[in-house]
């Protein structure tokens, strides 16, 4: 298992380098310039100067190598320095966002907590809702519960979050005043009152995304359960005189969870990718919003770094999914 993991990680390096290059070329090719959000009142010469100061005019190859160097050498050194108080990085120039002129890594680090709490919670919630629904739908296949589940999850797929999100805001913030319509990222949970506030402001975004995720995962859970419910070992378990609960929740579930867990693992990078629309609707200002504003502002260092981190996560969680499979399913061994 360990060598498998290390081998995959080693193989991932050239892959990721290639991906980073492609992303870089793509971003460079994309229309738009870092000046797109500068008011038209700023004269041309000033704009050209600003672009030059950003280094956006350097040859692409140079910029790419520069980015690689900063991403793989300087930023890790900075992290190291930050952790241990050393000064290896010296005063080498860090990768700076074109928009805010602050180190890209710092901005990303700042955003991670809110994205993780909101999007992560909703993913968790989605899983928690999806599993029992999927299990029960499969156990009682074609019952009204199952039919209703199918119906609702299909609706869940088809109605976009920009609609459900606003709907919730109109109902619960504007009409009922139950929840705030705007997420406060500065809120720090220190006591029960602030915790209550945090829960309140998370409720709607988590609900919107959670339901969406639940719809998806419950489908997987259901089909996986259906597959396993008819296996021979289920009959064996019953013949042993185990209760129905143990049969379904221990024997069938454990087997059914294997593919579902890997699907869930494969979905985790999307948490870090942020839910662009949901974050926008509820003003969560997480990584999704960061990415989209950076794209709009043509903030190449930021977009490149974010996308690359995303790529790393995708490759990483592909591996995690494989490893999970190996851990959960004793039949699979990687060596």
């Amino acid at each position: 298992m360990l060598t498998f993991t290390i081998r995959r990680l080693l193989l991932a390096i050239p892959t990721l380098l290639f991906i980073s290059l492609i992303i870089f070329l793509l971003l460079d090719m994309a229309p738009g310039s870092p000046m797109s959000q500068i008011p038209l009142t700023v004269p041309l010469e000033v704009r050209l100067k600003m672009i030059e100061a950003l280094g956006a005019n350097d040859p692409i190859f140079f910029r790419y190598i520069n980015w690689l160097h900063k991403f793989f050498v300087i930023e890790p050194l900075h992290v190291f320095d930050g952790l241990f108080g050393t000064t290896f990085a010296g005063d080498s120039l860090r990768e700076l966002s074109w928009q805010s002129r602050s180190p890209v890594a710092d901005v990303i680090a700042q955003r991670i907590p809110q994205t993780l709490t909101v999007i992560g919670m909703s993913y968790l919630l989605g899983i928690l809702i999806a599993l029992p629904i999927g299990i029960y739908s499969a156990y009682r296949q074609y019952s009204w519960f199952d039919q209703l589940g199918t119906f609702i999850s299909m609706i869940g797929f088809s109605v976009p979050t920009f609609f459900t999100g606003v709907l919730l805001i109109v109902v619960f913030s504007v009409k009922l005043h139950w929840f705030p319509s705007i997420y406060d990222t500065t809120l720090k949970v220190t006591d029960w009152a602030s915790f209550g506030k945090q829960v309140k402001q998370m409720t709607m975004p988590v609900a919107v995304l959670g339901l969406y995720n639940a719809a998806q995962i419950s489908r997987y859970m259901r089909s996986s359960m259906l597959e396993n419910l008819t296996q021979d070992y289920v009959r064996t378990a019953r013949a042993k005189g185990l209760s129905e609960r143990v049969v379904v929740l221990k024997h069938v579930l454990r087997n059914s969870l294997i593919p579902v867990v890997t699907v869930i693992a494969l979905g985790i990078p999307t948490i870090f990718g942020g839910a662009i629309i949901t974050e926008q609707v509820f003003k969560v200002n997480g990584l999704g919003q960061l990415l989209i504003t950076a794209i709009y502002a043509n903030d190449l260092p930021m977009v490149q770094t974010l996308t690359f981190i995303f790529a790393v996560l995708i490759v990483l969680f592909n591996l995690v999914a494989d490893i999970l499979y190996g851990i959960l399913d004793p039949r699979i061994r990687y060596d």
Partner: protein, 353 residues
């Protein structure tokens, strides 16, 4: 029955089929599953060679390698004059009609989404340029040949019984008038009463069309019924290759002896009296076969030499080939005495231990 002048249709020499095992950080090739490790035999035109052995000993692999469904690791397979192992893809395709295969699991070997006519017609599509009516006529002819009602042409595999499905598989194999058919456990998945139907059909076709079979099975009684000569495989190698009657009357290799003794007889009087040789332990992994004789880990008559030297397959009596240190040409006696109770005692005969 086996006159020496008969033409050899299939000549297999030192066939090796290894499945690579990759491991380590860089996925280096660190070993092989030696599924088939140096197997040689001939099949004469019009004869049936039975291939028996326990599960996992490499029977299917031999069968598949013969038709080059795998790329061979080593050795040669000459079928009707051409070395199949070395043919170019196109030449191989041209050659395919002469050699066909019937698969073990009739359910699994039929595409569940094709109709009977589609399945039987597939080889015709690939190798002939018949018009639609000609093709249909040929399909009907084949269906008649294997005893399938022409009305079934539009049915799907799941709508047939196991025996009928196996007939479809046979009809497909026959479609191109092959000379040689590998039957890979064609009856293992079938019900007893249907097994007989299929075996009879195969025999009948052989009589009618002069086919040559490699009949793979682990059902020794059925092999006795159908085969002219029988090869007993153990862990990727042939332990014994003998004409059928001689083998069943007096097996020579210790593994053959054990194997035959294990077959239950549907006769309570004899069944009760029979002495079984119960082998101990499990078959070693083909990825890591024991040193020396492959059977040395389970052999009731094992001696020191067995752990050191691998015996060659030698002709110990006319047409009888055995790979055992204790069965030598001068005295074609079974390894060990015939009594199962004494099986653990090393044989004294002819061996200067």
């Amino acid at each position: 029955m086996l006159d020496a002048g008969r033409r050899k249709l299939v000549e297999v020499r030192d066939l090796k089929m290894y499945f690579p095992i990759y491991s380590g950080l860089l996925r280096r090739h660190t070993g092989d599953v030696k599924a088939v490790d140096g197997v040689s035999f001939d099949i004469f035109e019009g004869e049936t060679l039975g291939l028996v052995g326990e599960s996992g000993c490499g029977k299917s692999t031999v069968g598949r390698a013969l038709l080059r469904l795998y790329e061979l690791t080593g050795g040669s397979v000459v079928i009707d004059g051409d070395d199949v192992a070395k043919l170019s893809p196109e030449a191989l395709r041209q050659k395919r009609p002469t050699m066909q295969m019937v698969f073990q699991d009739p359910q699994a070997s039929l595409n569940p989404r094709m109709t009977l006519a589609g399945i039987i017609g597939e080889p015709l599509d690939e190798h002939t340029s018949l018009t639609a009516p000609e093709k249909l006529a040929r399909i009907y002819q084949l269906m008649d040949q294997v005893g399938l009602n022409r009305n079934f042409a539009n049915r799907y595999p799941h709508e047939f019984s196991g025996g009928q499905r196996q007939r479809i598989g046979i009809a497909r194999a026959l479609a191109l008038n092959p000379k040689f058919i590998v039957c890979d456990e064609p009856i293992a998945a079938l019900d007893v009463s249907i097994q007989a139907q299929v075996v009879n059909l195969l025999e009948e076709l052989q009589d009618r069309l002069g086919l040559t079979y490699l009949f793979i099975s682990h059902d020794l009684s059925m092999v006795r019924h159908i085969a002219d000569r029988v090869a007993v495989m153990y862990l990727g190698q042939i332990a014994e290759l003998s004409p059928r009657d001689e083998l069943y009357a007096q097996p020579l290799h210790p593994y053959a002896i054990a194997l035959l003794s294990a077959v239950p007889e549907p006769d309570p009087s004899r069944e009760g009296a029979r002495q079984r040789i119960i082998l101990q332990g499990d078959v070693p992994s083909p990825a890591n076969p024991p040193k020396g004789c492959n059977f040395s880990t389970r052999c009731p008559q094992v001696q020191a030499i067995c752990h050191r030297l691998q015996p060659d397959l030698i002709e110990v009596a006319p047409l009888r080939f055995v790979a055992c240190h204790f069965v030598q040409p001068q005295q074609a006696q079974p390894a060990g005495s015939t009594g199962g109770t004494e099986a653990t005692e090393p044989t004294q005969q002819g061996v200067n231990a």
